[in-house]
């Protein structure tokens, strides 16, 4: 080891370079022991609060626990939830919620980012504004919307009156209650996505736009042929994330409409899971429903992980 000869303190050579003196196996063992020592705290937490619950979720779905005795019941839990009249409504609502959230929650922040990015003034202010709601505690943001939606003293109906349009019963009308939930949710959450899109837009080389202009492209064609292809990876990642997040929506409908909403119009799958587990104490049925959601979302999650790896490289 040439490094040793330059070491200023020759009195402690065994400590400065142990691998040369000790048996390789002992060194490897000690190195591994230290390494595992650093790892153990997090691994224990994962084991107890993540990995074990993951296994338990699978077991629960096929078990029933009655008066302290656990028995295997096969697919009974799945039949129980599928026979529930709320089952199809919850799936329908969840899919509709996801579709609406994609229309609004996906497009609105992208358009906002496109617009903000064009300005040379006030960008900092606009970014700050969009991100403000993200910093609110969700209960404050959701209850604020509950008052904005109030048919009597709510501001939204006042705005409609001002515009000369018919007032709405927002959260009490089964036809639009889900839309009302999506609007509130978009307002609360769009800040993060907008900032990420802005960062992506700012990395597009300006020459591409110049080249497109030479070819005679107008505004929309520039967006279609330059902006969208250049931000494709970020867009698809956000799309997947949005789908994964909105299919698990709980807080917004729970706080705005009490979960079920008028005629069950805002019951989502996760709310149904919550009801089975914590209102009916039927953990098996909750787990069965959870497994269905898991299977549906696993594909999206896998695609997301694969795409974000591609982005890293």
């Amino acid at each position: 080891m040439p490094a040793l000869s330059t070491a200023p303190r020759p009195t402690a050579p065994p400590r400065t370079d142990p691998p040369a003196r000790t048996a390789p196996l002992a060194t490897a063992l000690r190195r591994n022991l230290t390494a595992h020592g650093f790892l153990i705290g997090a691994v224990l937490c994962f084991a107890v609060f993540s990995w074990y619950p993951m296994v338990r979720e699978f077991l629960l779905a096929f078990q029933k626990t009655e008066s302290g005795r656990t028995t295997w019941v096969g697919l009974d839990n799945f039949r129980t939830v599928a026979d529930d009249p709320a089952f199809w409504q919850a799936w329908g609502n969840t899919l509709l919620y996801t579709a609406l959230a994609l229309l609004l929650g996906f497009a609105v922040p992208f358009v906002a980012a496109l617009v903000i990015n064009e300005f040379r003034h006030g960008q900092g202010y606009l970014r700050l504004l969009v991100y403000l709601p993200v910093m609110l505690p969700p209960v404050a943001a959701v209850l604020l919307f509950k008052y904005l939606y109030d048919p009597g003293y709510g501001l939204l109906n006042e705005l409609l009156r001002f515009l000369g349009r018919p007032e709405q019963q927002w959260l009490q009308d089964p036809d639009i209650s889900l839309l009302a939930v999506v609007i509130a949710s978009t307002w609360m959450n769009m800040g993060g996505a907008t900032l990420i899109y802005l960062a992506a837009l700012q990395s597009i080389p300006g020459e591409l736009y110049e080249a497109a202009e030479l070819d005679g492209a107008g505004l929309l064609r520039k967006i279609w042929h330059v902006t969208i292809p250049q931000t494709r990876l970020v867009l698809s990642l956000m799309l997947l994330m949005q789908v994964i997040a909105t299919m698990q929506v709980f807080v917004e409908p729970f706080l705005l409409t009490g979960g079920a909403g008028p005629e069950g119009s805002t019951t989502t799958v996760v709310y149904l899971i919550y009801q089975y587990a914590f209102n009916f104490n039927n953990y098996g049925a909750a787990a069965a429903l959870g497994l269905m959601l898991l299977v549906l979302l696993a594909g999206f999650s896998a695609a997301y992980v694969k795409l974000s790896r591609a982005e890293d490289e």
């Binding site: 629960l60 617009v115 064009e118 504004l129 993200v134 967006i223």
Partner: protein, 291 residues
């Protein structure tokens, strides 16, 4: 801004272009202010209205009555001091646990590279693929009776702190950053006789300040914004977080008092955000796609 965007600078330089730019800019500034600041103004101002005015149709934009006492009542009735302190306690406890345990784990996986380290990392990342809400039910059953130690963690701060460590995304971010620290730097320190802990403390951590900032923000904001988990695991009103406490009292208090409470609850994070906005928004995009 020197980089050019969708609209060509030549076009903007023309008088008509400049006028259009100004008009659209003003329009957007007004619209964004109304949409994002408007509801917050309405929240804060409604907190000053008296009980009749707050539920009157049509609503008033400028409060006709002035009752600042609502804020005092909200503070008293909803015991906001306790809720705020609880939330701070949980958030910074979770931050401490994540900083110690997740940093140690990421350091081990990145630089010490134990046997089976790759498998452990893989299993951690696999948790990202499971939708969080699916795990809530088995996690809840687990904290009711934690295996081996056989303890019920309901209503104790551990129920927030320990599960917060299982943040595979933070570990991944940290590991990726540690990977980029040159190995020669660490080898040089090892030759000088520094042990792994010393290397972590004196070399890795000081150069990792930016990523530690990002992870810290995620950790604190995560606890601050969580609702379902604390609602399930902290049934005792004296131990609840701001989100859960306000929710559970929301039906029992007059509207103007509740609105005042919502305003107070929103203030801390808004103030922190206004002070640290650069770091928070920078960290958000640096931290990748977890908005």
């Amino acid at each position: 801004m020197s980089t050019r965007t969708l609209i060509s600078p030549a076009r903007l330089a023309r008088p008509r272009g400049r006028a259009a730019y100004r008009a659209v800019l003003v329009l957007v500034l007004v619209l964004f202010t109304l949409v994002f600041l408007g509801p917050l103004y309405w929240l804060a101002s409604s907190g000053f209205k008296d009980a009749q005015e707050v539920i009157q149709t049509p609503p008033t934009l400028v409060p006709g009555s002035f009752e600042p006492a609502n804020y005092g009542r909200a503070w008293e009735v909803m015991d906001l001091a306790t809720l705020l302190l609880n939330t701070l306690y949980y958030a910074f406890g979770a931050l401490a646990f994540q900083l110690v345990l997740d940093v140690a784990a990421a350091y081990s996986l990145s630089k010490l590279r134990p046997v089976l380290g790759k498998a452990v990392l893989g299993m951690m990342l696999a948790t990202l693929m499971i939708p969080a809400t699916v795990l809530v039910v088995p996690q809840y059953l687990t904290v009711l009776d934690v295996p081996i130690v056989e303890r019920n963690l309901l209503d104790s701060p551990w129920v927030i702190w320990l599960p917060s460590v299982t943040n595979a995304f933070n570990i991944f971010l940290l590991k990726r950053f540690f990977d980029s620290i040159p190995q020669e730097l660490l080898s040089a320190a090892a030759l000088d006789g520094a042990g792994p802990l010393r290397i972590l403390w004196s070399i890795v951590l000081p150069v990792s300040r930016p990523i530690l900032g990002v992870v810290s923000i995620f950790a604190v904001v995560g606890v601050w914004k969580d609702f379902l988990w604390p609602m399930l695991t902290l049934p005792d009103p004296a131990k609840q977080t701001l989100n859960v406490g306000i929710y559970s009292l929301s039906n029992g208090v007059p509207v103007n008092v509740l609105i005042a409470a919502l305003t107070i609850a929103s203030l801390p994070t808004l103030l922190v955000f206004l002070v640290f906005q650069r770091n928070i928004m920078g960290g958000l995009t640096a931290g990748g796609l977890k908005g």
